[in-house]
């Protein structure tokens, strides 16, 4: 039971760290959209890079005309 003297202060430190992480998460809006990121990670993957690279030639219409 001697270990309590080490474990309990340690648990306090862990709680403190978790609270800081929670504070950052709430503040930076991690809880604002709980649905979208789950989907977007699936979406982004299969855009093949070569299509994106040749995009300027095929999409002249998106250039802003000043």
């Amino acid at each position: 039971m001697e270990s309590l003297y080490l474990l309990i202060p340690m648990s306090l430190v862990v709680v403190g760290v978790i609270v800081l992480i929670l504070y950052w998460a709430v503040k930076s809006g991690q809880f604002e959209d709980l649905e979208g990121p789950g989907h977007s990670i699936l979406m982004d993957d299969d855009v093949s890079p070569n299509r994106v690279i040749d995009k300027p030639s095929s999409s002249t219409s998106v250039k802003q005309k000043e």
Partner: protein, 823 residues
């Protein structure tokens, strides 16, 4: 590319929208290496844009069957004038804000429409990101809002809006209001407080484990260490997580002389404070229980319930936003009305009273004003709830928010922005929400008394024992508090409420404010709106009278449908719908139908419209009810047929009214429609009390008058005109398909087409009332037995703890029975 996505659509369907393809509207293009077919130029243009940017993966991922795009904005690369007006410095200032991190760049929030699936979000995000000048795009899937950061020198707001239209969606800039900011802050603060409470609860329960299991091999110092660590973790939970509760409780106590009412935070704060002080004292003295685990658990559960309620409430409250959406931001203003016909698209904020505007058919009027052109047909449903179009002639007053149906009109502005009628209704709603009577729950009242009684009992016990045996005084007083811990009592109603709300949500009634079930059971008067609530507000073809031999009902309907195709008049839509339902193909007309000022249509020999316009003698129509709207079809040889159309009652409406009346609730039918129509429908549903021609203010004061008589008013409505009275009533339900503004004032939102969930909610309300009573009686009986025993010093804290837990469990399980509801 071999990884070309396969769509689930067959070749007979439009590649983009999935609509039917017929030979006369076929468009073909080679996209991604294979031929694709489209139903219209709009779909083709959208698909070309999407493929052109390498975003064709959208077609493989989206949910099948989109909507047919109804705008042709995507056909051109030129940004339309109506959108260009958004580049006006005044509007730019309103809708964008300078980015705090990136100098020279601005941020704007856009509300996206027609988003149906995650693929839509992805497509919009990718598409916007590829615009030159756009730096970052974030789309929130839940709220459908896009935050776009861009360089104003490289790309304009109008271009952003237009490019969203080019891929078949709609976007409108959204003014982040103060209240939205406040709501976000409130949400984040509560979430943080909840997080701290939950963490504290978990940790403190872990430290309490040896006490739960009765481990007796701990040294005294170790127990002290555990005790003080628990204390250290409870302090932030009490001070930070529960802090605002103490503030509210203090305000409530200070205002007690004026309001003679104590909020529900008072007993809660008292219980928390007492338990914390008692626990701290026992920790210092080294005797008795420390209630830190119960305190943290109690606060965590309470905050969890409040957080969920806050989310539901903020979801439904988009009042200001809804209003912004309903009024267009730009309009066509005459440059010099008396001299030229020339108009220019300008932002509404640039207009002043006295300016002359032209409103195209299909557009929403952005300001209040008077009609300058001859005749006009308008739909004022958003204001009056009346579904039938209203005819206006020169000099009549036009209201912002009404829909111009038939022909272009010219109007002079008399009021703008906050001065308009619709803004007035919105501010009446705010006023009503402030004045909403506070519902004091049964449990809150009881818990309030109970806490006072408990403190007295504990105090008396301490005094009595002080004289008998001063050493045991403190311990017994604490045992009284533990044994009686108001848990069962405070759980009694919230548990029943939560269970009932869960059940009713599944049936189609979304509870926004927690008291709905409790107040429904007490309702004495039901005030219900007609159009859109009791009836669907959409006319339906009831009967066809074919008057010419040789013409069947099908044939005349085919002619009428052909004439009405493309029209937006509600009666025309009903005729088209009926033809579609009976699978009748409209005939091919030799001439395109011409609309004549809301009175009728003409095409070749055929004329379709009202009797007055066609100059007909009254026809002996065998009409089962005089409320039906009649549409006459005529050709060069005279009258061909008469169509009879009628508004349809909502499914489940009749049963609902019968059930409400059977409970002895007085039903009042209040509607903006004319007295005669309202009376007919009141007879139809068997309602005795009715009032036609009711303005939003009338409904509000009607409800107010009933409440002054001591009645508990239950309101059901759907339109903007219902919003203030929905907010004023003791308990109110908004029909989900109605105006968003109405939902802002309501306590619950009906999400189904049928009114049946209302009947079920009523049954459930009765049932939850019974269960709440059972729970309260149980908690009361338990306390009546436990407290005296504890006062006599016969209960040790360990036994008291078990008794308390079992009592809470019994109450929760009893409430759980509400989740099973008969379909």
């Amino acid at each position: 590319m071999n990884t070309k996505p396969e769509t689930p659509l067959s070749i007979e369907d439009c590649y983009h929208c999935g609509g039917d393809l017929t030979s006369d509207n076929l468009y073909e293009a080679t996209l991604g290496g294979s031929p694709r077919y489209f139903c219209c130029a709009g779909c083709l243009a959208i698909a070309q844009t999407i493929h052109g940017q390498g975003l064709e993966a959208f077609y493989a991922r989206r949910l099948p069957l989109g909507q047919k795009p109804d705008d042709v904005g995507q056909l051109t690369d030129q940004v339309p004038d109506a959108l260009l007006a958004y580049d006006d410095p005044v509007l730019m200032d309103r809708f964008t804000r300078a980015s705090s991190e990136y100098p020279g760049e601005v941020e704007t929030t856009l509300r996206l429409e027609k988003i149906r699936c995650a693929a839509c979000v992805w497509l919009n995000e990718q598409h916007l990101k590829r615009l030159f000048g756009v730096k970052d795009v974030q789309i929130n899937y839940v709220t459908q809002r896009a935050t776009v950061r861009f360089n104003p020198n490289e790309v304009h707001l109008s271009k952003l809006l237009h490019s969203v239209e080019q891929i078949g969606y709609e976007a409108w800039p959204f003014e982040p209001s103060m209240s939205a900011d406040l709501a976000k802050k409130e949400r984040r603060h509560l979430l943080m407080r909840l997080g701290v409470a939950v963490l504290g609860m978990m940790q403190v329960m872990m430290y309490a484990w040896p006490t739960y299991t009765g481990a007796d091999d701990l040294l005294v110092e170790q127990e002290l260490l555990l005790g003080w660590t628990s204390w250290a973790l409870t302090v932030p939970v009490v001070l930070y997580s529960a802090g605002p509760m103490f503030v509210v409780a203090w305000h409530s106590i200070r205002n007690f002389p004026r309001t003679s009412m104590l909020g529900m935070d008072v007993p809660v704060s008292l219980a928390v404070a007492l338990a914390f002080i008692a626990g701290s004292i026992s920790l210092v003295l080294g005797v008795g229980e420390s209630y830190f685990d119960s305190i943290t658990m109690f606060i965590a559960f309470l905050l969890a319930a409040r957080y969920l309620e806050l989310l539901a409430r903020q979801d439904a409250q988009g009042g200001a936003e809804a209003l912004a959406k309903q009024l267009p931001a730009t309009c066509d203003r005459f440059e010099d009305y008396s001299n030229t016909e020339l108009t220019k698209s300008v932002p509404v904020v640039r207009c002043v009273v006295g300016d002359v505007l032209r409103i195209s058919p299909g557009d929403v009027i952005p300001v209040d004003g008077v009609l300058l052109s001859g005749e006009a047909s308008l739909n004022e449903a958003i204001l009056s709830g009346e579904s039938r179009p209203v005819s206006k002639s020169m000099g009549d007053v036009l209201y912002a928010g009404s829909h111009n149906i038939v022909s272009p009109i010219v109007m002079r502005i008399t009021a703008l922005g906050q001065g308009t009628r619709i803004a007035g209704i919105a501010s009446l709603l705010d006023k009503a929400l402030l004045a909403k009577p506070q519902v004091v729950g049964l449990a809150e009242k009881w818990a309030g008394y109970f806490v006072v009684f408990l403190m007295a009992a504990a105090g008396l016990t301490a005094i009595a024992w002080y004289f008998l045996d001063p050493l045991k005084a403190w311990e017994t007083a604490v045992a009284v508090l533990v044994a009686s811990c108001p848990c069962a009592l405070s759980l009694a109603t919230p548990a029943a409420m939560a269970a009932a709300q869960g059940a009713i949500t599944k049936l189609g009634l979304l509870v926004v404010r927690g008291h709905v079930m409790e107040t429904l059971a007490k309702a004495t008067d039901l005030v219900i709106d007609k159009t859109g609530t009791l009836t669907t507000g959409h006319p339906e073809l009831k009967a066809i009278l074919s008057l010419r031999t040789g013409y069947t009902e099908q044939q005349v309907l085919a002619i009428a449908a052909a004439m009405e195709s493309g029209q937006k008049h509600p009666l025309g839509l009903a005729i088209l719908e009926a033809a579609q339902k009976r699978e009748i193909q409209p005939i091919i007309l030799s001439e395109a139908p011409v609309s004549e000022l809301g009175k009728g249509l003409r095409s070749g020999v055929y004329q379709l419209g009202s009797r007055q316009w066609l100059n007909l003698e009254p026809v002996p129509v065998n009409q089962e009810n005089e409320q039906a709207s009649l549409v006459y079809l005529k050709d060069d040889q005279g009258l061909l047929a008469v169509f009879s159309l009628l508004d349809t009652p909502r499914p489940g409406a009749m049963e609902f009214i019968k059930q409400v009346q059977a409970r002895g609730i007085q039903v009042h039918l209040l509607s903006g429609d004319d007295q005669q129509t309202v009376a007919w429908w009141a007879r139809y549903f068997g309602i005795d009390h009715l009032q036609g021609g009711a303005l939003p203010e009338d409904k509000f004061s009607f409800s107010d008058a009933l409440q002054k008589e001591g009645k508990v008013v239950w309101a059901v409505g759907d339109g903007v005109n219902d919003a203030p009275f929905l907010a004023k009533a003791n308990v109110s339900i908004a029909v989900g398909s109605g105006a968003p503004l109405a939902q802002a004032g309501a306590d619950a939102v009906l999400t189904t087409e049928s009114l049946k969930p209302l009947s079920q909610a009523l049954e459930l309300a009765d049932k939850s009332k019974i269960i709440m009573r059972q729970n309260l009686v149980w908690a009361f009986v338990y306390n009546v037995i436990a407290i005296p025993v504890a006062m006599m010093g016969l209960v040790n804290p360990w036994v008291a703890g078990i008794g308390m837990s079992l009592s809470s469990l019994a109450v929760t399980l009893n409430a759980w029975r509400l989740r099973k509801i008969s379909e």
